[in-house]
């Protein structure tokens, strides 16, 4: 741990020292071996829609920078992020491919996800400033704010709620006001039929 904090010292000064240390400790504890799979349910609140979009399926970290997002409801779709490219396959359609470079939000999501699942605080601190709130084991929240000034203009912050060494919720707040909330693990089954922002935040932080 000492070695760890020494090597990380250039990044550490963005957040309060003791806060950063506990955050790092937490991230290290979250690590698990790849491949790691978890069910998820996502609600997206977008300005252009008058009700949230809800989808669910399974998220898999295949190790390295490879992430798979399989949608089961309401339609089937498989998206893979690998080697800087996103591939999207939908039944009966040509696969769509695009670069991660063109989707900075995805890059942020990938960075946070891979660092969390890999238990790699160094990587996480490279991309984000980290704050931890709620120090007790029953509930904690990690707030990640992108360091890249360009990225922060689209993704304001990512909040990860969890309990013990289990992340339960990932909330991505976009700068234009849009919000995506992903319920992870056992919480995925508890996505309400008509979710609201407040309801989901309460679910993430409380229940």
């Amino acid at each position: 741990m000492l070695l760890c904090s020494l090597t990380l010292s250039p990044y550490a000064n963005a957040s309060a020292p003791e806060d950063a240390a506990t955050a790092r400790e937490l991230v290290s504890a979250l690590g698990r071996p790849a491949p790691a799979r978890t069910p998820f349910a996502e609600a997206r609140f977008m300005k252009m829609l008058d009700q949230p979009l809800v989808v669910s399926g399974q998220l898999s970290w295949l190790g390295g920078d490879r992430l798979e997002r399989q949608l089961l409801q309401p339609h089937r779709e498989l998206s893979t992020i690998a080697d800087g490219e996103v591939t999207q396959q939908r039944e009966g359609r040509e696969p769509r491919r695009f670069s991660l470079k063109r989707a900075p939000q995805l890059q942020a999501l990938l960075d946070s996800f891979v660092a969390l699942l890999g238990g790699d605080p160094a990587r996480l601190e490279q991309a984000f400033t980290i704050q931890r709130s709620g120090t007790d084991a029953t509930h904690w929240t990690l707030t990640l704010i992108p360091r890249d000034p360009k990225l922060v203009r689209t993704v304001s912050r990512i909040e990860i709620d969890g309990r013990g060494n289990e992340p339960r919720c990932l909330r991505m707040q976009e700068a234009d006001g849009d919000l995506a909330v992903d319920l992870l693990g056992e919480l995925a089954a508890r996505m309400p039929a008509a979710p609201t922002r407040e309801g989901l935040v309460a679910l993430c932080q409380g229940g």
Binding site: D50, Q51, D83, E85, F98, S99, K101, A103, T154
Partner: protein, 772 residues
């Protein structure tokens, strides 16, 4: 001349040269466009070639590869390079595979409904919109959401993406990190230059601009930029040739100076004898400046080569001086012969003027003016400056021995006949082809450059520079309609793997008829709003979200149909300008062809489409142009030969004497040709030019050897002068013969061989030493 007068003359001459030099430096505009050195095209294909060489869409492409760093760094560099080149007016198109909205700027966006084929099969009705909106909803819950979010209100059917897809090359390389990558892991880019592909000067500027932009990019540690493409090749070939020519030129200049010092043992003589040549070069350039707005680079290069003949004039004067005799007197004695030599060289070079090719005409003007100035300044200025006391070369012991040895050589009467027979035998026996028609064979590129080009071209699906699809019709609209009619069978051709891709003009600009049909298929505002409302039933889109879409459609309904003039200057406009051209009241559509696998099948397909469609083989057209070119030079040479015979005969006032001068020269010229042919050399234009130079030099040798003075000393001086001339020519051109660049080798080898043969034959066939 008094001492003061001599200084006055020297300073005056130098001052005049300095003024000339200033004028030349300030006013000379050198053009590097190879086309101005080509003959006027006579067939339709040749004419198209002249426009396409350099102007065609294929030949203006530079292919770039960035390597030597990790993928993400290369992708960032690729994007950075595109950013910095996009607003540079030297480049009309910069592509790296990333989705390019800039092809249609904001004001043109409503045109997407007239340009995209969607409306050919679909109507913007409720069921279609419903399907599209459902798909967009799925998109919004996918990782692509952030990509499409911004487009959605204005373009819910993603017409912009349709167009982008339609306009990306059919076979495009792998996308990594959003940009094109080769299988070797280099980021790939395609840049279209405004400059013509075969204008090495302008291309060098374009290449340097890209390199500078690349060097200015941040964080490019270790990454390297590699170029390919016709324009780059012309730059490389130019630099290569110039580099070697300069290097060889420096070495041979030093050798030449040493040789003259050795021959005349006088620095003053050496320096002064440079004045006529310098005057010749400057006067020649001045004449070009006066007569032509631009002077071709090749004119100057060839011109300086051909002006080599003029070196002889001061050398003759220096060698023929007698001990204690005034230089003016020596020159007076020499002048009639020298004048004949000058006039005959002028006549030979004047032949270039008759060729009708602009570059060659310039060459004629330059050399003729140069020779006259060199000759007359040697006669009327130089002798007044030369030191009064010189060593008479006639009494040098080695020269006496050499002359004796030369006089003792056997001179069989059958020699000319034997040489002529041998020449004919060699010419007949040599392996065909006689002529080298492929100009590119003369400036070959390093093998690895060509391999890289093939690799990048294949990876990028860049159009072939050799084949071009030409559509011809009375009007632009006819061309576009024809192009549309071809689309189906062209696609079939691709499916049969005859070619990898054919890109037709209608891909970028549909005909008015098609645009109008699409326009008429667009619903009016009320109908669209109704359809949209129906489609949105039960979907969570905010009411009024698609107002920008409705506005665009409404605007598209009232737009004047898109024509090239409206997009002028934009990337789309540039593409169209390259693909649609008006000529002689008719319109041409130029389609590019990529990856030709079966030329015969391609030709057959084009023939089946009728007269209006044909495949132009630019290489074949170029070769036919070279053949025409050569025919003109040969014709001009015949004229020159006749004039030469007349001049020599008249000035020598004797057919027999003329024969003694012309026979060795003619025989030696053909002997060079025969020896080169039997050695497997195919004769190019450059060989012909070199043969003419050698013949000019040979004529001098023969003229001087023929001069029957009966004065032993004068004969020795003639031998001395000729030896100095021969050695200096061999020094300069012998060096060129070792060059690795075929153009330089062709000139060097031909002139060296020529000088040697002319020298030997004119000695052996000289009349005076014969014992009869």
């Amino acid at each position: 001349m008094r001492r003061g007068g001599r200084w006055f003359l020297l300073l005056g001459w130098l001052a005049l040269l300095a003024v000339l030099a200033v004028v030349v430096v300030q006013r000379l505009r050198v053009s590097t466009d190879l086309r101005s050195f080509m003959p006027a095209p006579s067939t339709a294909d040749q004419r198209l070639l002249m426009e396409q060489v350099g102007e065609g869409p294929g030949s203006r492409l530079l292919l770039l590869a960035i390597g030597g760093a990790p993928d993400d760094a290369l992708a960032t560099l690729s994007q950075g390079l595109v950013q910095s080149l996009r607003h540079d007016t030297r480049y009309t198109q910069v592509l790296n595979g990333s989705f390019d909205m800039a092809a249609l700027d904001d004001t043109l966006l409503p045109y997407r409904y007239l340009l995209s084929p969607t409306l050919d099969q679909q109507r913007l009705d409720a069921p279609f919109l419903r399907d599209q909106l459902e798909q967009r909803l799925e998109d919004l819950s996918s990782p692509a959401a952030s990509l499409l979010k911004g487009l959605l209100p204005r373009d819910p059917t993603l017409e912009v993406l349709q167009l982008a897809q339609r306009w990306t090359p059919a076979t495009s390389p792998e996308l990594r990190e959003g940009v094109w990558f080769s299988a070797q892991g280099e980021a790939l880019l395609v840049v279209q230059t405004r400059a013509a592909g075969f204008d090495p000067g302008a291309q060098a500027d374009a290449v340097a601009g890209i390199q500078r932009a690349f060097d200015a990019l941040p964080a490019r540690a270790g990454a390297t930029l590699a170029f390919s493409g016709p324009g780059y090749f012309s730059v490389v070939a130019n630099a290569q040739t110039r580099g070697q020519a300069e290097w060889i030129g420096r070495v041979s200049t030093v050798g030449f100076i040493l040789l003259l010092l050795l021959a005349y043992r006088s620095v003053a003589s050496l320096l002064l004898s440079a004045l006529p040549i310098a005057s010749a070069a400057l006067a020649g350039m001045l004449a070009l400046i006066v007569l032509y707005p631009q002077v071709h680079g090749i004119t100057l290069a060839f011109g300086f080569t051909l002006l080599g003949v003029a070196q002889e004039y001061p050398i003759r004067v220096l060698s023929h001086r007698r001990a204690g005799e005034d230089a003016v007197q020596s020159v007076r004695d020499l002048w009639p012969l020298l004048l004949t030599a000058i006039m005959s060289a002028c006549i030979a070079y004047l032949a270039f003027y008759a060729s009708g090719v602009n570059g060659l005409r310039q060459l004629a003007v330059f050399t003729v003016v140069g020779l006259l100035v060199a000759g007359f300044s040697t006669r009327y200025l130089l002798p007044y400056l030369l030191p009064t006391h010189v060593r008479d070369v006639a009494h040098m012991p080695w020269l006496v021995t050499a002359r004796r040895w030369v006089d003792a050589l056997p001179r069989p009467r059958w020699l000319p006949l034997f040489v002529a027979l041998a020449t004919v035998v060699m010419l007949v026996a040599a392996q065909p082809p006689f002529w080298q028609n492929d100009l590119s064979a003369l400036t070959p590129l390093p093998r690895d450059l060509l391999q890289r080009d093939a690799r990048l071209r294949a990876a990028l699906g860049a159009p072939d520079v050799r084949y071009l699809l030409v559509l011809q019709a009375p009007s632009q609209q006819d061309v576009l309609r024809l192009s549309e009619a071809l689309e189906t069978s062209a696609t079939a051709l691709q499916a049969r793997h005859v070619v990898d891709a054919i890109e037709l003009p209608s891909r970028y600009l549909p005909s008015d008829a098609v645009q109008r049909a699409r326009q008429q298929a667009l619903p009016d505002r009320a109908a669209l709003e109704r359809a949209l409302a129906d489609a949105e039933q039960g979907l969570p889109f905010q009411p009024g979200l698609f107002a920008p879409f409705v506005n665009d459609v409404e605007q598209a309904r009232g737009l004047p149909l898109l024509e090239p003039a409206r997009v002028e200057g934009s990337p789309l406009g540039q593409r169209l300008a390259a693909m649609l051209q008006q000529r002689d009241g008719r319109w041409l559509g130029l389609g590019t062809v990529s990856g030709v696998h079966d030329v015969a099948a391609l030709q057959q397909w084009a023939q089946a489409q009728g007269d209006a469609v044909r495949v132009l083989d630019l290489k074949a057209a170029a070769e036919s142009l070279v053949v025409d070119y050569r025919a003109r030079i040969l014709q001009a040479l015949w004229v020159a030969t006749v004039l030469l015979v007349l001049t020599i005969t008249l000035s020598l006032r004797s057919l027999r004497r003329a024969w003694h001068v012309l026979a060795p020269m003619t025989l030696a010229t053909f002997l060079v040709l025969a020896v080169e042919r039997i050695a497997g050399v195919e004769i190019s234009l450059f060989h012909l030019v070199a043969l003419i130079l050698a013949a000019g030099l040979g004529l001098h040798y023969a003229l001087f050897f023929e001069r029957d003075t009966g004065d032993l000393n004068e004969q020795r001086r003639t031998l001395h002068a000729t030896l100095v001339c021969v050695l200096s020519a061999l020094l300069v051109f012998g060096m060129l013969a070792w060059s690795s660049i075929p153009v330089l080798r062709a000139i060097g080898l031909t002139v060296s061989l020529g000088v040697a043969f002319h020298f030997c034959l004119s000695i052996l066939m000289a009349p005076h030493a014969r014992q009869d």
